[in-house]
């Protein structure tokens, strides 16, 4: 079990910064996810931790000790790649035994450890198979066994699920969780898939442009995003800008009361999850109350588990997700939306200053 600390790590490729001043802590025994769109630097981060790449700035510590002078083969940080990368000339047993042979473990012990680990990944009896005789899911399980059998200080998973079929992904997720619970290895999972991160990780680090945008539990990332980008990444679409003043946001939609107003005043951006927006019904006549907004319904789409409603209130577009059993308006209707104060969240960092946000 190892605590991993990234201290202001930077790495460029040519002139493009892949990781820029990244600081991150992964607790001992934690299963953490690095989540972000492709090209955000998450795989580079994993390679830096594994020692396959050297940081140009900053340092990486395992349990408080700098790894700067430790080559990858002596870090005990085993990587499982997106593709299983089983050595094609070795059978399953020899593939799994590879890391133990590198450690010069006696053959008798190797045989026991390999068959025990193959049993854990439900591949007992596959020892003599060649990699080309395995299905994709089996091969990925062998790759996992090959990594785990060495009892690494750190397990690094680089999108190990993205090349698998959906039903295999569920199986593999369950297996990773189970093995993590059994072995308690500090595990870092790189993924671009929210579901993988949500189902597997204790905490999620969201990366954009090689920087840490936010680090926390999924609930916080959803309800209390740090930036517009994080909010957007998790499906946030409603953004209202205005001025903070006395516990409320004076916005284009009028005065919005906040349940948790941040300290201070000045310009700010607030967001609300579309599933928290409520449709109070048609009619312009309804009395204008706090946090209620008059809008024109533009589109209603039934997406099965919910109905997506898009509306326009002045210059601001509002999206609401309504339960299928809720009364829904039709396009063209004018009605009242409520943005409940307890669901309005003021973005602490507004828009990221180092990256342009896409047009709303």
């Amino acid at each position: 079990m190892t605590r991993v600390s990234l201290l202001g790590v930077s790495r460029r490729f040519g002139r493009t910064p892949a990781v820029a001043g990244l600081s991150l802590e992964v607790e001992s025994g934690e299963l953490a996810a690095l989540l972000g769109p492709s090209g955000c630097g998450k795989t580079t981060t994993l390679r830096l931790i594994a020692g396959l790449l050297k940081p140009e700035q900053g340092d990486i510590h395992f349990d408080g000790r700098s790894m700067a002078a430790t080559p990858a083969e002596r870090r005990g940080a085993v990587m499982v790649f997106q593709h299983p990368l089983l050595f094609p000339h070795l059978n399953v047993h020899d593939n799994v035994a590879f890391g133990l042979r590198a450690q010069r473990v006696p053959e008798v012990e190797i045989r026991r450890a390999v068959s025990d680990m193959l049993e854990r990944v439900r591949l007992a009896g596959f020892e003599r198979r060649r990699p080309r005789e395995l299905s994709g899911g089996q091969a990925q399980r062998v790759a996992l066994a090959r990594a785990l059998v060495t009892r690494p200080r750190l397990l690094l998973l680089d999108e190990p699920l993205s090349s698998l079929d959906p039903h295999l992904r569920d199986e593999m997720r369950a297996l990773i969780r189970e093995l993590h619970a059994d072995l308690g290895l500090t595990t870092l999972l790189v993924t671009h898939d929210q579901q993988d991160a949500a189902l597997l990780a204790d905490r999620i680090a969201v990366l954009f442009h090689g920087r840490l945008a936010q680090h926390g539990r999924l609930r916080d990332l959803f309800d209390r995003p740090a930036t517009v980008e994080v909010a957007r990444f998790f499906g946030g679409v409603n953004f209202m800008s205005g001025t903070l003043d006395d516990g409320a946001l004076a916005s284009q939609l009028g005065r919005l009361r906040l349940a948790e107003p941040p300290p201070g005043s000045g310009p700010a951006t607030a967001t609300i999850r579309p599933e928290a927006v409520r449709w109070l019904g048609a009619g312009a006549a309804r009395e204008h109350r706090c946090n209620q907004v008059l809008g024109v319904v533009e589109r209603v789409v039934d997406l099965g588990s919910f109905r997506r409603l898009t509306a326009r209130a002045g210059a601001v577009s509002i999206e609401a997700h309504l339960r299928p059993d809720e009364a829904a308006p039709v396009a063209g209707q004018v009605g009242v939306f409520e943005l409940p104060a307890e669901h309005l969240w003021v973005l602490p960092r507004g828009t990221d200053d180092n990256c342009p946000t896409r047009a709303a």
């Binding site: 020692g51 990858a72 990587m79 990368l85 050595f87 094609p88 000339h89 590879f98 890391g99 590198a102």
Partner: protein, 268 residues
């Protein structure tokens, strides 16, 4: 369906057209006398063989020279070609295309053209008329084929296998021995085969740099052909074929190693 007998006939005609010119090669060595209109030797005999086996023919030392030259040149060429081919294929060199053509150049320009300059230089270095000088000279036509073949192998090579091995704790030698080498072995065998055969068949370079002091089998063959003794020439040609086929067979076996990357980058 009706095309099948025709096809079969065409196949055997093709084989005959291809193989018949070689027939005298296998008949001449055992001919005592074979005059023009006769379809087969009129007198059979072992004159050619008894001469070749006699010490005066100096076939033994020539065979030894040829074998040692071809083997040493293959090994050195592959050792030099490995890093060169890998770098050409994997490192994104700014002048990669140019480097590729520079490596290919000796294969385009006849090595004999370079031989005169080489000879002058080797004379000054004391390498002329030496086995070592001839071996170095053989590397000139051999290296391009080895480097290009190995660059082809590495063009389809996935470095991730080595990185996987490294994070599993394998140091440099273990990665090369148990990951890289098995993966590239077939391509390596083909490159080695090229190197061996090209060195094996060198005549002019050997003659110019070796100055006659280093005798190889193809040089003897040239002498026999010039002398017009068909029986001797054919017998020596058979001797020349033996090791070449042996190396070819060995390379083919290695190239079929399971799960390895062939010269075409195909996983066998």
């Amino acid at each position: 369906m009706s095309a099948t007998p025709w096809r079969r006939a065409a196949f055997w005609v093709g084989i005959a057209v291809w193989a018949l010119p070689f027939a005298p090669l296998f008949l001449w060595p055992f001919a005592g006398s074979w005059l023009f209109p006769a379809p087969l030797p009129t007198v059979w005999g072992d004159r050619a063989w008894s001469y070749l086996l006699s010490p005066g023919a100096r076939v033994g030392p020539a065979l030894l020279n040829s074998l040692s030259l071809a083997s040493a040149v293959s090994i050195v060429a592959v050792l030099l070609g490995l890093p060169a081919g890998r770098t050409l294929a994997l490192a994104r060199l700014r002048a990669g295309g140019l480097a590729y053509w520079i490596f290919l150049l000796p294969a385009i320009v006849p090595a004999q053209a370079a031989a005169f300059g080489l000879h002058a230089t080797f004379l000054r270095l004391g390498l002329a008329d030496q086995w070592l000088g001839v071996a170095l000279a053989h590397l000139v036509p051999v290296l391009p084929y080895v480097v290009i073949t190995l660059a082809g192998v590495f063009a389809n090579y996935d470095v991730s296998y080595e990185q996987q091995a490294q994070t599993l704790g394998a140091g440099g030698w273990m990665r090369f021995r148990w990951v890289t080498l098995p993966l590239i072995l077939p391509g390596l065998a083909v490159a080695g085969l090229y190197a061996f055969l090209i060195s094996w068949s060198q005549v002019l370079l050997t003659l110019l740099i070796g100055g006659g002091a280093v005798t190889t089998l193809p040089m003897l063959l040239l002498a026999f052909v010039n002398s017009g003794d068909h029986a001797l020439a054919a017998a020596l040609a058979l001797v020349l074929l033996g090791p070449a086929f042996l190396v070819l067979g060995l390379a083919t076996r290695l190239a079929r190693a399971p799960g390895a990357l062939g010269p075409g980058g195909r996983i066998a």
